[in-house]
Symmetry: C2
Subunit: 412 residues, 2 copies
C-alpha cells in the first residue's frame, strides 16, 4: 500500500499561528463596521439543496462543488452567500434586514493562489434587503466598503457600472436578447484579457464581428472620458443611439442620483465608472461594483497584483424566485373561502413554509396551509388542521374542490 499523501485538497489551506491571528483581527475589524451599520449576523449551512443553486450563476455554475448522491437530497457546497440569503429571506418571511455573513464559500476553478484566491475562501457579505428609495442603500454599502478598507489600511478603487446601462448598450448596438448574458460574461473578462481575445469569444458565442466592434467602441471608451462618474455620464448623454434606449436613461438617472449621495458620503474620489465592468453573475439588476487594490510595491521592489478583493451589486428579483407562486395560490383560496362567507385571516408575511403559516394562526379556529409538492398536478397540496391541535402530522390533506365543504363541516 502506498503511503497516504499528507496534503490538503487542491485550492485549500490550513490556517494556524500568526496567519489565523491576523485573519481573525481582520474579521473583527470588518465585523465591527458591519455592526456599526446595523448589520445582524446570519449563518447558513455549508451546503444547500442543488435545486436552490440552479440557474443563479450563469456560466460559472460549472464551478459548483456537488456532493455525491449517497441517497436522499441532492446537495452542493455554497458558491456564495447571496443565494443562501435569498433562500433564508423566502423561508423566514423577513422583509427588511441588513444582514452580514462571514464564512467560507467554494468554487471549483483554477485557484490563483499567488493572488490569494483559493477554491475554499472567505467572503464577508453585507446585504440590504427591503424596499427603499433608489440608490440610498447602494450608496451606504459603498460607504461601508470605503470604511472597511480604510480600517484595514488598504488603498482601493471602486470600479462601478449599471446593469441597465450595460444591457441597454448591448441592445443599442444590436446584441440579440438571448445572447445578453453570455456576451456580458465575455465583456467581464476585459480586465484580464485583451480586446482581441474577448472579441474572439464573442464571435464564438455567435455574435457578428461588426456588432462586437460596435460594442468595443463603448466598452473600450475609457480613454475618451476621464472615468469619473460625471464625465462618463456626459459621454453617454452625448450619444444619441444610447440615449434612445429606455434602460440606459433609467441607469443614467440612477447614476446621477448615486453621485449626489457619494458626494454626501464624501467618497466620490474612490469611484470609477467603468463601462466594461459586467460581473459574471446572472442575478444583478442595477448598480454593480468591484473593489480593486491599488498595486503596492513589495519588499523586493516588484508590484503585487491582487486584483479585485470585494464586489457586489443590486439584485432585485432573486428573493422572489420560487416563493411567490404560493402567495397567489393562497390569495385564490382566501377568495374562495370568503365567497363562501368564511372569515379568512390572510397572513401577508407568511412564506410558503407550513410551520411558519401555522405559528401565526393563533387566533384562528381552522388553519389552512399550502405545501409545495412536485408529485401533484398543480405542484401544491392543501392541508387543514383544527386548532388548538398544533401537530402538523395530524393535518388532513384536502382536495381543492372539497376545501370549502370541509372547512364548513369543521366549523359547524
Amino acid at each position: 500500500m502506498p503511503p497516504v499523501q499528507m496534503k490538503t485538497p487542491k485550492g485549500t489551506r490550513d490556517w494556524a499561528g500568526d496567519k489565523i491571528i491576523l485573519r481573525e483581527h481582520v474579521f473583527e475589524k470588518i465585523r465591527g463596521i458591519f455592526s456599526l451599520h446595523g448589520g445582524e449576523e446570519l449563518d447558513t449551512p455549508v451546503f444547500e439543496l442543488k435545486s436552490i443553486l440552479t440557474d443563479k450563476y450563469g456560466e460559472d455554475a460549472k464551478l459548483i462543488y456537488d456532493l455525491m448522491d449517497q441517497g436522499g437530497e441532492l446537495c452542493a457546497l455554497r458558491y456564495d452567500f447571496t443565494v443562501p440569503f435569498a433562500r433564508w429571506l423566502a423561508m423566514s418571511g423577513v422583509r427588511q434586514i441588513k444582514r452580514y455573513q462571514i464564512g467560507k464559500v467554494y468554487r471549483r476553478d483554477q485557484p490563483a493562489i499567488a493572488r490569494g484566491r483559493l477554491r475554499e475562501f472567505y467572503q464577508c457579505d453585507f446585504d440590504y434587503a427591503g424596499t427603499f428609495d433608489p440608490m440610498v442603500p447602494d450608496s451606504e454599502i459603498l460607504s461601508l466598503i470605503v470604511e472597511v478598507f480604510e480600517a484595514l489600511r488598504i488603498n482601493v478603487t471602486i470600479k462601478m457600472n449599471h446593469r441597465c446601462i450595460l444591457d441597454g448598450m448591448f441592445a443599442a448596438v444590436g446584441v440579440p436578447q438571448d445572447q445578453l448574458r453570455s456576451i456580458s460574461s465575455a465583456v467581464d473578462k476585459l480586465d484580464k484579457s485583451s480586446w482581441e481575445e474577448v472579441k474572439k469569444e464573442m464571435i464564438q458565442k455567435g455574435l457578428f464581428a461588426e456588432l462586437a466592434d460596435r460594442l468595443g467602441s463603448y466598452v473600450l471608451s475609457k480613454d475618451s472620458h476621464s472615468n469619473d462618474i460625471e464625465s462618463t455620464i456626459s459621454f453617454i448623454k452625448s450619444d444619441e443611439l444610447l440615449m434612445a434606449n429606455g434602460n440606459i436613461v433609467k441607469g443614467v438617472e440612477e447614476m446621477e442620483l448615486l453621485l449626489q449621495y457619494l458626494n454626501a458620503y464624501d467618497i466620490a474620489a474612490y469611484v470609477k465608472f467603468d463601462l466594461s465592468l459586467a460581473r459574471g453573475l446572472d442575478y444583478y439588476t442595477g448598480l454593480i461594483y468591484e473593489v480593486i487594490v491599488e498595486p503596492s510595491p513589495t519588499a523586493d521592489g516588484t508590484e503585487l497584483q491582487v486584483g479585485s478583493i470585494a464586489a457586489g451589486g443590486r439584485y432585485d428579483n432573486l428573493v422572489a424566485h420560487g416563493s411567490t407562486s404560493l402567495v397567489e395560490e393562497r390569495m385564490a383560496i382566501a377568495r374562495e373561502l370568503r365567497q363562501a362567507n368564511i372569515s379568512v385571516n390572510f397572513n401577508p408575511n407568511a412564506s410558503q413554509k407550513a410551520r411558519k403559516q401555522l405559528d401565526s394562526a393563533d387566533c384562528a379556529v381552522i388553519s389552512v396551509y399550502l405545501e409545495e409538492d412536485a408529485a401533484t398536478s398543480d405542484g401544491i397540496v392543501i392541508k387543514i388542521l383544527t386548532l388548538p391541535e398544533k401537530n402538523l402530522e395530524k393535518a388532513t390533506v384536502v382536495d381543492r374542490e372539497d376545501l370549502v365543504d370541509e372547512v364548513r363541516k369543521r366549523l359547524a
Copy 2:
C-alpha cells in the same frame, strides 16, 4: 416546472437573530477558557482528501459525506477535527502544541434534532499533541471540560473508561482479536439500547453467546460498585481473570494516577468510571470519556434528555499514520551519504513535505529531499537541488543508486 422548494438540506439549519447571538456568546466563553490553557487556534478546510479520512472511523465511516467526483482529487467533508489535526501535525512538522478548533463537522446520520444534534453541527475541540508524562495532559483536559461547563452553568457528569481496560476485558473473556473493534462498537450502544439488543448484535457479529454473557457480567457491573474511580478500580483488582491481563494492569495503573491528578484539580466528584463506555472511534488508545448533561426539568415539567454533549480520549498513533516511512528512508539515505564521507545535516523535525525540508536547509550546499510517489516501486522519489536555487520545480530526480555519485559531482 414545480416551484423550487425553499428549505435547508436535511439535518442542517440557519442561525439568525437571538440564536446566533447566544451561540457566539457560548463560543466566546469556550474560546476564552481554551486560551487560558494556552490553546492556539487552527482552522482546516471543510473537506479533506478522501484517503486521509479512510480507516479512521470504524463502522461510522459510512456516515461520511463524499463530494462528487467531478475530476481531480476525491474529497469528503470532514467528520471531526481530530483527523485533520493529525494530518496538519504530519504536514507541518509541529511536534508539540495545544491547539483548538471551533467549527462545523458533518455526519450523514439520522439527525436527533430534538436533542440538538444535526447532520451539520459544531464541535469545539481542544487537543494536546506531544510527548508528556502519563495522565498529565489527560487530567488537564478533564479540568478544562469542567471549567467550560461551569462557565456555561450546565451540570455535567463525565463518564470515563480506558481502552486498555476495555480491550483487556474483551481479551480476558475470550473475544477474538479480530472482533475487538466491532464488539467494542456494540458495547458502546449500551447507553441507548438494552443488554438484550446489544447481546443480539454481538452474536450477529459472530461472538459466541457464552462469551457475550461473560462480557455482560463486567460491562453491566455498575451495581456491584459505586461507579467512582476508587471502587471501580477495587472491583477490577479483586478479579483474578482481569488482573492476569497486562493491558488491564497498565490501564488500572493509569487510572490510579489519574485519580491523584483529578483530586489535585478538585474535580473527582464530576467523574464516573463506566466499564461499558466504549466510544465508536477506532483511533483511541487510552483514556476515553463522554460528558453527559444531568437531566434538568423544563418549563412544562418534563425532563430534557440531551445525552452526551462532549467527548474525547487519548489517541497515540493517529499522527504517525503515513508520516514515519519517510523518516526511516531519510535515515537510510543519510547513512549512505555519510558512508561516502559526505556531511549530512539531518533535520529531525522535517515532515515529508518537500517545501518544509528545503526551508530548513539554509546552510546546506545541496538539498536532498524525498517525496511520496505511489507510481514508483518503493513509493518514493528522490530529488536534489543545488542551493541557493530554491525553486523546487528545478530539482533533479535521481535514482537511488546514482545519488551518492550525483551529489559528489555537484560538490566538486
